[in-house]
Point group: C2
Chain length 231, copies 2
DNA sequence: GCAAAAGTGTTAAACCTACACCCATGG
DNA sequence: CCATGGGTGTAGGTTTAACACTTTTGC
């Protein structure tokens, strides 16, 4: 760390790309309508400046809570965007996060000042402020990769889910057909799903068994060098 | 981006973990001896504050050039460390990078103000300033993972290398024995190595053919959805 | 001719892929 | 009884893993 230059004038922000997966259609992204300039009235990722005495992780969590009443089930650092000129006002370096929430957040809470927060389908996003479209692209790419070697998909489902929901989720995220039988065999072979006594009731057709993901067992296996992997 | 709070007082720095691989032993990390407080006289990663009108990537490149006369063959963002208290003076958020250099950097340039830059074996690091040990740990972990699904190892070798050098590199980084025959078959099967007419002269035993890595072909294949992978 | 590293094939096991029919439910 | 989605097995091909001897060179 050198630095003998005048006074650095750079702001540090955090922004989050939070994905949700509701009603078996496309992935959704959480956006906030801006009520200040620049891009006033436009849509942007939730986020904001980091407080002086606040860790980065805490800052994102705070912003998500304040702006949308959301506590993601999964949240990890994505990438730091800091090019000159990405914010027209002054230099802002933004540490971005990738978040995943379960379907209980479909209806955004009426508590909090969340009235300008909204879910948008990944394929029908509005024009976005700053370089936020790039950030979303980066997040999507990461999610697509990550879901193939870490069991993060479960964070987008309810605690209890039918197998077909998992199937649809993977089809949606990876964006291609999967072989139902092979997929089930593979997932089941890891022994990470616990069968419950419940059955999926909504929808037509034969009701499917509900499963839960065994997080503890996964952690255990992981420590022994096990790698979740789909191909 | 909310922010109506007083004035944010956070500095933005970049730091780099640059790895080198020389004389077939352990991986080496580039460290700089600090000549200012805090940790004056101690060892730290190369890096420093970002200039107001400078992109993050440019900032790391500049610092590496200034502090050690090095231009890495491979350089990518690693992680952003920004916890309160990681710098005893004031709040510093550090965007860290992972860099790889080829063996021509073994002797650090006499140009530049590089006299306090030095290579340290990954297993014999001195006490490090700030949270730099954590950063190195993160970088090592990333390198170990990355080398298994992206051909980054070649950036640690000379343009022309013997197969055994590649072998040793993988053994060193992954930290376990590999089957020479299977490894060679696998690598060769990708058709990404060009045979040269040269032979390795140093060392005893039968001289090995020298190869070069075909970067162009790799880029091409990559665009067609090809994934380099070792297992 | 000895020590040191380079070069090379085969076989069994594991894993992946492709593929189609019957089952349980609600209407 | 029909429509809808749930649940299941097998065979062929590909990939991985394990394993040891011959070749070339310098000394």
């Amino acid at each position: 760390m050198a630095g003998s230059k005048k006074l650095q004038d750079i702001k540090v922000a955090v922004d989050a790309v939070v994905f949700g997966y509701f009603d078996k259609k496309e992935l959704q992204v959480l956006l906030i309508q801006r009520n200040i300039e620049p891009f006033k009235g436009g849509w942007a990722l939730p986020g904001g400046l980091v407080l002086d005495d606040e860790n980065l992780d805490d800052a994102v969590k705070r912003e998500l809570c304040e702006e949308a009443g959301i506590k993601p089930d999964f949240l990890e650092q994505l990438y730091t965007f800091g090019n000159v000129g990405r914010d027209p006002r002054n230099r802002v370096v933004s540490v971005t996060y990738l978040g995943l929430v379960n379907p209980s957040y479909h209806e955004l809470a009426a508590d909090s000042d969340a009235d300008d927060a909204q879910w948008f389908g990944i394929n029908s996003l509005p024009e976005l402020a700053f370089d936020h479209q790039t950030i979303i692209d980066t997040a999507l790419k990461r999610l697509r990769t990550k879901i193939q070697y870490q069991p993060v998909g479960f964070n987008l489902l309810n605690g209890e889910f039918a197998f077909s929901e998992l199937e649809n989720l993977y089809k949606t995220i990876v964006g291609q057909e999967i072989d139902r039988r092979n997929f089930r065999k593979k997932i089941m072979s890891y022994g990470l799903l616990n069968e419950t006594d419940n059955f999926k009731k909504e929808g037509s057709g034969r009701p499917g068994k509900m499963f839960t993901f065994n997080q503890e067992k996964y952690k255990e296996l992981e420590e022994q060098g096990f790698y979740f992997e789909l191909k």
